[in-house]
């Protein structure tokens, strides 16, 4: 007789032991075992049996050696289904065990069975909003760049300000009159000074052998006949 191959899935709650193993074991010897706890009602309430059988198929479909692609069984591949022996998904975050059973197709009694597997705990489905994407910490390079740049900028501003204040307030006597194209300084001919006249306005021109004055007048404060030129 062709035997039917079933997988039994049993759910345990919180204690880590399969308390509901006892449910299946209690029903084990009854007939029509595949209908005693259909999938839709297996986990629906606190009083449900919390196990279900999922049909794999006839024994002849599973010869040894293992055919490629048949060496795993995916629990829940039918998704949320409603037939009694469908391969539906387990409740989220639960702990489950499974075993294989061979069932006599005539009266659906258990003929042979494997041992219970170890506990398999499913991933609890966490809410992505629970991920804290707030403060990820500051890297060292950020601190270095920010602090050094800010301090250098402040230093630069400060130095520029000091320089401007110095130039505006403390260097009045050194200001030149920038009058483009006109004579820079004009000294009257002085009969008392018999030295050859050197017109300092043409200071910048190439030096002729007769021109002896190497000094370039730097400042001109107040052209006043009472006050002679300050530098010579």
């Amino acid at each position: 007789m062709a035997l039917l191959f079933y997988v039994v899935l049993c759910l345990s709650v919180w204690t880590g032991l399969c308390q509901r193993v006892s449910n299946f074991d209690a029903d084990k010897n009854k007939t029509y075992i595949d209908t005693l706890s259909p999938y839709p009602t297996a986990f629906s309430s606190n009083t449900s049996k919390k196990y279900f059988l999922t049909k794999l198929g006839l024994q002849k479909d599973y010869p040894c050696p293992v055919v490629a692609g048949t060496d795993y069984f995916r629990v829940g591949s039918d998704g949320s289904c409603s037939t009694p022996n469908c391969n539906g998904i387990l409740p989220v975050g639960s702990t489950a065990r499974f075993r294989y059973v061979l069932i006599n197709p005539a009266n659906k009694t258990v003929v042979a069975e494997s041992l219970w597997s170890n506990n398999i705990t499913l991933y609890p489905l966490k809410d992505p909003e629970s991920i804290d994407n707030g403060f990820a910490g500051r890297s060292a390079s950020m601190i270095v760049i920010t602090s050094i740049l800010c301090s250098f900028l402040a230093l630069l501003l400060l130095l520029l300000l000091i320089m401007l204040i110095y130039v505006l307030c403390c260097r009045e006597e050194k200001q030149e009159i920038q009058v483009p194209g006109s004579v820079r300084m004009y000294d009257t001919h002085n009969l008392k000074d018999p030295s050859p006249y050197v017109n300092r306005a043409y200071e910048d021109e190439p030096q002729r052998p007769t021109a002896t004055s190497p000094i370039r007048l730097k400042s001109y404060t107040d052209y006043d006949l009472k006050k002679p030129a300050t530098e010579l």
Partner: protein, 251 residues
Amino acid sequence: MADGKGTTCLMVILILGNIFGAAAGLALCALAIWVAVDEYKLYPISGVSGKDDIFAGAWIAIFTGFAFFCMCVFGILAAAMKSRALMLTYLILMLIIYIFECASCITAVTHRDYLVGNSNLVKKQMLKYYAADGDSGSRITLTWNKVMKEVECCGTDGPVDWIEYNSTFREMYGTDYPWPTHCCKRKNNYEVVNVEACKNGQNTTMFTKGCFNHIESVFSRYTWAISWYGFAVLMFMFWLLILAMVYYLIL
């Protein structure tokens, strides 16, 4: 001038410094253009989260880099003409550009920390927006598909992200596919090698490493281009400006 030789020496140093500064500024402009172009096409990850100031820093750096170039050319002119007015103009304008470049560097590096300091923000965004409707959803989906295919990775820290957390993808497509099919290895004709094995998580048929390393390295590369190179240029410009101030004082 009393110290004519000193002035000339400083003028030569200033001119050389400005030539170098012009080249550095132009290079900054070019590097910032490279960042703004975003060859890795990862802008949506930063754009959707609102932390896209790495690219804002790049745009500022394009302009400040070019401005540094122009100002340094002007500085060569001002130094050669020994003109106080021009030197003062040079100093003030350079300072304004300096301030903007500082802003660019600092903003790029702080936003990099927000974005890829740890994988939380990228992971949350992926779970929320992958396969979602709307403009943000489609951009994120396209970006992640591209990254998963090219870098051969799945999820942020690994495929476990898709089953550990609820996501828009799971709500849309149910639990049959625990993760997107882009996590599966594909043949050269773009067909998935083995869909069932991929769904089961067999690591010979799917990608098991996370994509966060790649994303983090790309954003870090952009940030180092803008902020560290900008920092180097600013350090050089600082000393150049100090010299220019001294030159202005003795002019």
